[in-house]
C-alpha cells in the first residue's frame, strides 16, 4: 500500500468515529511513515496517543499486506511511560484502533505491577506493542537474549519525555536507546513532550549525538492552545491572614462554594502530608461531603488510586485532594475546576495542573490559586503574568552521571555481557556521556571489576568478571539477582508497607517516619486514623483508632524551588509594589502587610538590596533578600556563611525560601564588615562555593542517590523475607568513608558536581551576585522580625556551617535530656 492509501485508512477510521484529525497528527503520521525520528510537542488530552500509534500500525500494514489473515509475530514497538498509572489508558486507546482495523495486533503492559506469570508469558511470546517504564525496559536488557526480542522493533515512543528529561530516569532512557539503535536496525525514535523552554535540546537528548539520527528527525508542534484563567482566592480579612505557614487552612471555607458550583474539582497540594491534612479538615468541617470527596497521592495503595481515578471519570466524586500524582496523563473529562493550594513554584507545573480541567475546546481552563501565607499572594500575581506572557522553564538534562552508567554496565553484564571496545562508541553517542574521556571510561570498568582502580592483595571484591575472551560478565547468581532488584529502586528513603493486622494493604510510608513512633501511637494516613501495632518484615501493622488527635504522616521532599523565570517575574511584581503601583488585586490585598514591612524596614526597590538584622530568643538573625528562588539562596547562603566564617570563628544555621535567606548565629553579625569586605563578590566564586559545599550537607544528601543507583547501598528485597544480613549501611557512613579514604572516586565527586549543576546553579548565582553588585545595599537594624522575614526564620529545615572548633562549640551547648 502507498503512503497516501495508508493515511486514508486512518482518516476514514477517524471519520467513522466522528473525530477530527488534527494537523499535528497528520504531520506526525507522514513523518513517521517517511522513516523519520522526532519529537512531538503536544499537551495531554490532545490525541497524542493516536498521533504515534496510528503510523506504527500503518507501517505494520505496509510491511505485511496480508495482515488481516496472517499475524507476524514478535515485538514491533515499545511505548515508554514514566507512570505506571498511565499504561492502561494507552493500552485501551491503542487496542481500539488495532482491533477496528482488524490487524490482530496485541498490546501488552509490563511494569513493576505486572505479575511474574504474565512476565514469563511475555518473554516466551512478546505482544506486538509493549507499554512499559524506563526501569522495566532496563530489566529487559538485563535478561539473556534481549537482542532477539528487540531485533525487529520499528519504533520506540517515549511519552511525557519532559518528565524524564531532567531526571536520572531520563539518563537510563538515553542509555537504553543507545543500545536499541545498534540492535534494532529499523528503529524510529519518537518522543512526546509538553511545552518546556528547551524543546530543541529535549529532542537532541532523546536522539543522541549521532548526526544521522539528528539530521533525519523533525520537531512537530501541535498548535492547540488552551486558554487559562487564573483566579486568586484573596482572604476577606487580610489582618487575620498569617505571615507564614504552608497549609492554607485559613481559607478552607472559601473553597466550599467553588466545590459546590463545579461538577468535579481537583484540589492540588504540594506535599502528601498537606494532602492528608486538607482531606481530613474538609471532612471534619463539612461532613456532608462524606463519600463525595477522595484523596489521591503516590503512597496510597494502587487499587485505591485506580478506584479514585475511575470515580472521577464516572462523575461520582465532587472533589479529589491530590498531589503531583494526578499531574500527568490520564484524562478526566468531568473535571471542571482546579484549585492549587500554595505556590506551585514553577510555571510549567502550574499550567499542567490548570490543563487538567475542562477539556471542552474553546472554553478556558479555570484554576484557583489559594495562598498559604500572605506573601504568596505576590506569587499569585506573578503567576498570572507568567501565564499571560507564556514564560516557560527549561528542564536541565544530566551530564556524566557515572552512577547510572555503572548501573547500566552491570545490567549488560548480567545478561549477555559486553566488550568495552564495542560498547564505548554507543555510550559516547548519548547526550549524557558525550564528554566522557577514555580515563573516565576505564575508571568505570575498573570500578565494576575491581571495586577501585587497582587490584590489591587479598581483595575479595566481586561483581563483574572478565572472561578469557574479554567479555565483561556477572557470573554470580546472587549478584545478578541483587542487581535486578536494585534497578527499579526509585531513589527514596526505605519504604515500609502499611497493613492492617488482619491483612489488607493501605499504602507505603517512609521508614524514618514510622521509626519515630512506638507501638500504640496513632497517626493519620490515607485519610484514616491508625494505631501502630508492630513492625514486622518491612511492614507496619496497624489497626483503626478512634483517638482524636494524632500525628499526620509527613513525607520528605516535595519542596519545589522557584524557577529562575518565575523568580524574575516575582521580583518585578514586588518592585512594582515598592513604587506603590499596587496594580493587581493580589498586591492591593497585601497593602497592610507592606505597610507593616515599611514600618520596621523597607520594601526594596529595583536598585536596592535589603539586609535585615534583629535579635530574638533564638539568637541573632541576619536576613538577605535577593528574590532569586530557593536554589540560588541555598547556594548564596552557604557561600556567604563560608566567607564570613573565614573572618572569625562562628557557627551559622542557614534557612532559605524563595524570597531570601537567613544566617542565624549565637553571636551578632556585623553587616558593615560583610559589606566592607565585599563578600558578595563574584570573584573566586567557584572555589569558595566548592569549599562551602564541603562544610555543608548538600553534597552528602546528593550522594545518597548516587550510592543507591551505583549499587553501593543495597535497599533490600522488596516484599521478601530474605534478610540482607550484615549488608545494611547508610549512604552517610559511605560518604564519610569515601571522603576519608578515596576522595578521587568519581562517584563521590559526582555528588558535588550534581550539586553544582542541578542544585546550586552556579550560573544563576553568578548573575545574581553581579546584579547585587549594581544595587545599593540597605541594612536595616530592626527591633523585631519583619513580615518578609517571618516565613524564613520559622523554617525548621536548616543547613549548618561552622568555623569554630568542635570543642569550643560543645562548651556552649547543652545536652538534651529525657523529661
Amino acid at each position: 500500500m502507498k503512503k497516501t492509501e495508508l493515511i486514508k485508512l486512518a482518516s476514514s477510521w477517524f471519520q467513522k468515529k466522528n473525530w477530527n484529525e488534527f494537523p499535528f497528527q497528520k504531520k506526525t503520521w507522514n513523518a513517521f511513515l517517511d522513516g523519520k525520528h522526532g519529537l512531538l510537542n503536544a499537551p495531554t488530552g490532545s490525541g497524542k496517543t493516536y498521533a504515534l500509534w496510528v503510523p506504527i500500525v500503518l507501517q505494520y500494514i505496509k510491511d505485511n499486506p496480508d495482515y488481516k489473515t496472517k499475524h507476524a509475530k514478535g515485538l514491533k514497538a515499545i511505548w515508554i511511560t514514566p507512570l505506571r498509572a498511565l499504561s492502561v489508558e494507552i493500552q485501551q486507546s491503542a487496542q481500539r484502533f488495532a482491533d477496528e482495523l482488524e490487524t490482530g495486533l496485541t498490546i501488552g503492559i509490563r511494569t513493576g505491577d505486572t505479575p511474574q506469570s504474565e512476565r514469563a508469558k511475555q518473554k516466551r511470546n512478546m505482544p506486538d506493542l509493549l507499554i512499559t517504564t524506563p526501569e522495566s525496559l532496563m530489566l529487559l536488557l538485563a535478561s539473556k537474549g534481549y537482542e532477539k526480542v528487540f531485533g525487529n522493533l520499528t519504533a520506540i515512543v517515549v511519552d511525557e519525555w519532559h518528565e524524564l528529561l531532567g531526571s536520572k530516569r531520563g539518563v537510563q532512557m538515553e542509555l537504553a536507546l543507545s543500545r536499541l539503535k545498534t540492535i534494532s536496525p529499523n528503529l524510529r525514535i519518537w518522543g512526546i513532550s509538553a511545552t518546556i523552554g528547551n524543546l530543541e535540546e529535549a529532542q537532541n537528548v532523546l536522539l543522541g549525538m549521532d548526526p544521522e539520527f539528528r539530521k533525519n528527525s523533525v520537531l512537530i508542534k501541535s498548535k492547540q492552545k488552551k486558554k487559562i484563567k487564573v483566579i486568586s482566592i484573596i482572604p476577606k480579612k487580610m489582618e487575620t491572614f498569617p505571615w507564614r505557614g504552608h497549609l492554607g487552612l485559613h481559607l478552607l471555607d472559601d473553597i466550599i462554594p467553588i466545590l459546590k458550583d463545579s461538577k468535579t474539582t481537583i484540589i492540588f497540594t504540594n506535599t502528601r502530608s498537606q494532602c492528608e491534612i486538607w482531606f481530613q479538615k474538609i471532612l471534619a468541617k463539612y461532613p456532608e461531603f462524606a463519600g463525595e470527596i477522595a484523596m489521591h497521592h503516590g503512597s496510597i495503595a494502587k487499587e485505591t488510586r485506580l478506584w479514585v481515578e475511575q470515580a472521577i471519570r464516572n462523575e461520582s466524586l465532587k472533589a479529589v485532594v491530590a498531589t503531583s500524582s494526578l499531574d500527568l496523563g490520564v484524562d478526566f473529562a468531568p473535571v471542571e475546576t482546579i484549585i492549587q493550594i500554595g505556590g506551585p513554584k514553577g510555571i510549567a507545573k502550574f499550567l499542567q495542573r490548570a490543563g487538567r480541567s475542562n477539556h471542552r475546546p474553546g472554553e478556558p481552563s479555570v484554576i484557583y490559586f489559594l495562598p498559604t501565607h500572605a506573601l504568596e499572594l505576590v506569587e499569585a500575581s506573578a503567576l498570572k503574568r507568567a501565564v499571560k506572557e507564556e514564560v516557560m522553564e527549561d528542564r536541565i538534562p544530566y551530564l556524566l552521571s557515572f552512577d547510572v552508567l555503572i548501573q547500566y554496565l552491570v545490567t549488560l553484564s548480567v545478561s549477555n555481557g559486553f566488550i568495552p571496545k564495542e560498547l564505548f562508541p554507543e555510550i559516547k553517542s548519548t547526550f549524557c556521556y558525550q564528554g566522557i574521556t577514555e580515563d573516565q571510561w576505564k575508571w568505570c570498568l575498573n570500578f565494576i571489576t575491581m571495586g577501585s582502580q587497582s587490584l590489591q592483595a587479598y581483595d575479595e571484591y566481586k561483581r563483574v568478571e572478565v572472561t578469557l575472551e574479554g567479555v565483561f560478565k556477572v557470573e554470580s547468581k546472587r549478584i545478578a539477582m541483587m542487581h535486578r532488584l536494585s534497578i527499579g529502586t526509585i531513589v527514596s528513603d526505605a519504604m515500609l508497607q502499611v497493613k492492617y493486622v488482619s491483612g489488607g494493604f493501605i499504602g507505603t510510608i517512609e521508614e524514618w517516619f514510622i521509626g519515630k513512633l512506638k507501638p500504640g501511637d496513632t497517626f493519620v494516613f490515607a485519610g484514616r486514623t491508625l494505631e501502630l501495632v508492630r513492625l514486622r518484615n518491612m511492614a507496619a501493622q496497624v489497626r483503626r483508632s478512634n483517638k482524636k488527635s494524632a500525628t499526620v504522616v509527613s513525607f520528605m521532599g516535595g519542596r519545589l524551588p522557584l524557577s529562575s523565570q518565575m523568580s524574575k517575574i516575582l521580583r518585578e511584581e514586588l518592585q512594582s509594589e515598592a513604587e506603590y503601583k499596587r496594580n493587581t488585586p493580589e498586591l492591593k490585598a497585601l497593602s497592610e502587610l507592606f505597610e507593616r514591612q515599611e514600618l520596621e524596614s523597607i520594601v526594596p526597590k529595583q536598585d536596592e538590596f535589603l539586609i535585615e538584622t534583629f535579635k530574638t530568643r533564638e539568637g541573632y538573625h541576619a536576613l538577605f533578600y535577593p528574590f532569586e528562588g530557593r536554589f540560588v539562596h541555598e547556594a548564596m547562603s552557604g557561600l556567604l556563611a563560608y566567607r564570613i566564617s573565614l573572618l572569625l570563628p562562628i557557627t551559622f544555621s542557614l534557612a532559605y525560601n524563595d524570597y531570601g535567606f537567613e544566617l542565624l548565629s549565637d553571636q551578632p553579625l556585623d553587616v558593615q564588615q560583610v559589606i566592607d569586605n565585599n563578600l558578595f563578590s563574584s570573584e573566586y566564586l567557584f572555589d569558595d562555593l566548592q569549599k562551602s559545599l564541603n562544610s555543608t550537607e548538600l553534597a552528602r544528601r546528593k550522594f545518597r542517590d548516587v550510592a543507591v543507583i551505583s549499587g553501593m547501598v543495597f535497599q533490600g528485597y522488596p516484599n521478601k523475607m530474605i534478610k540482607t544480613k550484615h549488608l545494611q549501611s547508610s549512604s552517610q557512613l559511605l560518604f564519610d568513608v569515601f571522603r576519608d579514604y578515596e576522595p578521587d572516586n568519581l562517584l563521590y565527586q559526582q555528588a558535588f558536581r550534581e550539586t553544582f549543576e542541578h542544585q546550586l546553579e552556579e550560573g544563576r548565582l553568578r548573575m545574581a551576585l553581579e546584579r547585587i553588585a549594581t544595587q545599593t545595599i540597605i541594612w536595616k537594624q530592626c527591633e523585631k522580625p519583619t513580615p518578609f522575614s517571618f516565613p524564613i526564620i520559622t523554617d525548621r529545615l536548616r543547613e549548618k556551617l561552622s568555623s569554630e572548633k568542635l570543642k569550643d562549640r560543645i562548651k556552649k551547648m547543652t545536652l538534651q535530656l529525657l523529661k
Partner: protein, 214 residues
C-alpha cells in the same frame, strides 16, 4: 585528650578512639570493632574503599603503644560477619602483640570459637573482674557494675541559634558504662540521657564530659 574517671574506686581512662584503659587490671577495653565489614561489602559487590579497613589497625597500634596493656578485651562484635580476608590481617596483627586477648562474644561474632582459641584469644559470654561484669549487651545487675558495647551510643547537643550536633559518646549510668563503637565504618545510635547519666562525648581527638552542661 583523655578523661580519667573513678568507678567503685577503680580508675578508667576514656580514650578518644572509643577504648577504655582500666588501670588496676592493666586492661584495654574495646567494643564493636566490626572487623571485616568493608571486605564483606566488597565481597557482595559494594565497592567500599579498601583502605578504610586499615584504619582500625592503625588506631589499635596507637593504643597498644600508649598503654602497653597486659590484656586487650573486646566487648563483642569484633568481626562483622563470616570469615573473609580480614581474618588474615587480624591473625597477623595478633601474632605481633604481647598482650593477652579476650573476646566477649557479641551478636555479630559468628566466626567459630575454636579459630579464636587457636590464635590464643579466649572467648567468653561474659566475664567477671572484681565487681565489674563485662558483657556485649548492656545488662542490669543489682550489685555488679556492667561494662558493655553493642549500642554504638551517641548524643545530641543543642545550642543558641538553632545549633545542634550529634557525637559518639561513652554513656554512663549508675551501674553501667556503654562504650562507643570502635570501628570506623559503623554508625551511632542517639540516646537521650536523664539527669543522672554521665555522658562523655568524643569530639575529634578529645573526650569531653558534656553531662555537666545540661
Amino acid at each position: 585528650m583523655t578523661q580519667t574517671i573513678t568507678i567503685r574506686e577503680k580508675h578508667f581512662t576514656l580514650h578518644p578512639s572509643g577504648a577504655i584503659y582500666w588501670h588496676e587490671e592493666n586492661m584495654l577495653l574495646i567494643a564493636d570493632v566490626h572487623f571485616g565489614k568493608v571486605a564483606h561489602f566488597r565481597k557482595h559487590g559494594a565497592a567500599v574503599p579498601q583502605k578504610a579497613s586499615e584504619e582500625n589497625f592503625r588506631k589499635l597500634n596507637v593504643l597498644v603503644d600508649t598503654y602497653q596493656p597486659g590484656t586487650i578485651c573486646f566487648l563483642g562484635d569484633l568481626f562483622h560477619s563470616t570469615l573473609n580476608n580480614s581474618w588474615k590481617d587480624f591473625t597477623q596483627w595478633v601474632k605481633f602483640q604481647k598482650s593477652e586477648f579476650i573476646l566477649i562474644s557479641g551478636n555479630h561474632d559468628i566466626i567459630p570459637k575454636y579459630l579464636f582459641e587457636e590464635l590464643g584469644v579466649i572467648v567468653y559470654d561474659e566475664l567477671l573482674r572484681s565487681d565489674f561484669l563485662l558483657t556485649h549487651h548492656p545488662i542490669e545487675d543489682e550489685k555488679l557494675f556492667n561494662l558493655s558495647g553493642h549500642i554504638h551510643p551517641g548524643v545530641r547537643l543543642q545550642g543558641v541559634g538553632r545549633q545542634y550536633i550529634k557525637l559518639p559518646c561513652f554513656f554512663k549510668t549508675e551501674k553501667q558504662m556503654i562504650l562507643p563503637a570502635f570501628g570506623n565504618f559503623t554508625g551511632k545510635y542517639i540516646l537521650t540521657p536523664t539527669s543522672t547519666n554521665e555522658v562523655f562525648a568524643i569530639a575529634d581527638d578529645e573526650v569531653i564530659c558534656v553531662s555537666t552542661n545540661s
